[in-house]
């Protein structure tokens, strides 16, 4: 507990982890590895803790390693019969069946071209096999996933820790900008962000905003946001 918030290096051993009272288990997240009865750190970063028994290392990383259940933004690179190859910035492309779209049947194929952006969830991501992506949830509804309208918008990449910052509930840049600008974003856990505003100028402004806030805190973001909006309005 006294370790929480400190920086750890690969090879460090953790002890005194707080287990859940019910099951007596400790949940170890990214960057931590258990070997018999000791816990090792294998990525450099800050140790974080969430009640009751969650521990993980918050590390700064650029390369994406596909993980099951994460929402990713992929680019369709190829089509092989019934499946599409989708680049999700992992070590190998993910496969995406044309049937895993809302309302798709054998007859009624989704309209997807090579180069399209798709927002989907990783159904299966194992280190030993090719990741599989789907654009529907378990009830068969798209739920915000699927092909992202390809006309317009801008896609860029950033580090994975920045993505997690953007997706955290405390992140206020998008909400603040959203109070005065109509726009749309799609943020993938694989380090890709797609932004579309009313005009190219506004899109660029939002992209610049998102890029510059990686190391800012909430107040700094607020100030930056106001400046950005003022500039856009022509002051």
């Amino acid at each position: 507990m006294e370790h929480v918030g400190k920086i750890f290096m690969p090879g460090d051993v953790l002890s005194n982890l707080q287990a859940s009272q019910k099951s007596g288990k400790v949940v170890l997240g990214p960057g931590l590895k258990c070997d018999n009865d000791s816990v090792f750190v294998n990525k450099p970063g800050v140790l974080k803790h969430k009640e009751p028994n969650f521990y993980w290392i918050d590390s700064h990383q650029k390369k994406y390693v596909p993980t099951r259940g994460e929402h990713v933004l992929g680019v369709v690179t190829n089509r092989m019969g019934d499946v599409y190859r989708v680049d999700i910035r992992g070590s190998e492309p993910a496969s995406l069946s044309f049937l895993s779209f809302e309302g798709a049947t054998k007859r009624n194929r989704p309209d997807i071209k090579i180069g399209d952006l798709v927002y989907g969830k990783l159904l299966c991501a194992n280190k030993d096999i090719e990741p599989e992506m789907v654009c529907i949830d378990s009830t068969g509804r798209s739920n915000g996933m699927g092909v992202i309208s390809c006309n317009g918008g801008f896609m860029f990449t950033c580090s994975l820790n920045h993505i997690r910052k953007i997706l955290s509930p405390q992140f206020n840049l998008l909400k603040t900008l959203g109070n005065s600008l109509p726009f749309e974003v799609a943020v993938g856990m694989n380090g890709r962000i797609w932004v579309k505003g009313r005009s190219i100028k506004e899109t660029i402004a939002i992209v610049n905003g998102l890029n510059s806030v990686e190391y800012m805190d909430t107040n700094e973001i607020k100030v930056m946001c106001r400046k950005l909006l003022d500039t856009l309005a022509g002051f």
Binding site: G24, V27, G29, C34, F54, E70, Y119, R164, V185
Partner: protein
């Protein structure tokens, strides 16, 4: 064998006829028997050794950040840019606030277990109170049915309640020590 082959060659339409009913049943049975044999054969190939038990570990590993950080859904739209997404965001927000409210309520409210726990200790004291009242009531009113008198002798909870209700409905002030 030859016969069976011949039979299987009979068309569906012929087999559906009334006079063919019996042969259809027999054919079915034959097929079932064959399938059963097949399953036995499958079992034959299974290992007959006890299952390997994985060593129970104190630790559970999770590869994703999802269970750790409460991340929001990655598609967002503002000021009606994409109506569909905006609607979904609103739904998710209300869902979240509902869940939050639910959680808070659960924290505030008394759980069934706690309630039961508390009442087991209360039953005795409250019961005594009623017992006293009952005795008084018995002295005042002797015009009771015999069955009721038996009940009062036994002094069990439900009958007490019934009686108290019968007597008068009075507001019972809750304990203030909570």
């Amino acid at each position: 064998m030859m016969e069976a082959q011949e039979k299987s060659k009979l068309s569906k339409n012929v087999l559906q006829m009334k006079f063919m009913r019996r042969s259809v049943v027999r054919l079915d049975e034959e097929q079932n028997a064959e399938e059963e044999k097949q399953t036995i054969d499958d079992e034959h190939w299974a290992y007959d050794i006890p299952q390997l038990k994985a060593k129970e570990s104190k630790f559970q590993c999770e590869a994703s950040y999802l269970p750790f950080e409460d991340l929001v859904f990655g598609r967002m739209s503002y000021k009606g840019f994409n109506k569909e997404i905006e609607k979904m965001m609103k739904e998710k927000n209300t869902e979240q606030s509902l869940a939050e409210a639910d959680r808070r309520e659960k924290e505030m409210a008394v759980s069934d277990d706690e309630m039961a726990e508390r009442f087991t200790s209360l039953v005795g004291t409250v019961g005594k109170k009623f017992a006293k009242k009952r005795k008084k009531a018995e002295k005042e009113k002797v015009t009771e049915t015999p069955q009721d008198t038996i009940d009062t002798v036994q002094t069990d909870a439900p009958s007490k309640k019934k009686k108290s209700k019968k007597k008068k409905k009075e507001f019972m002030k809750p304990n203030e020590d909570e």
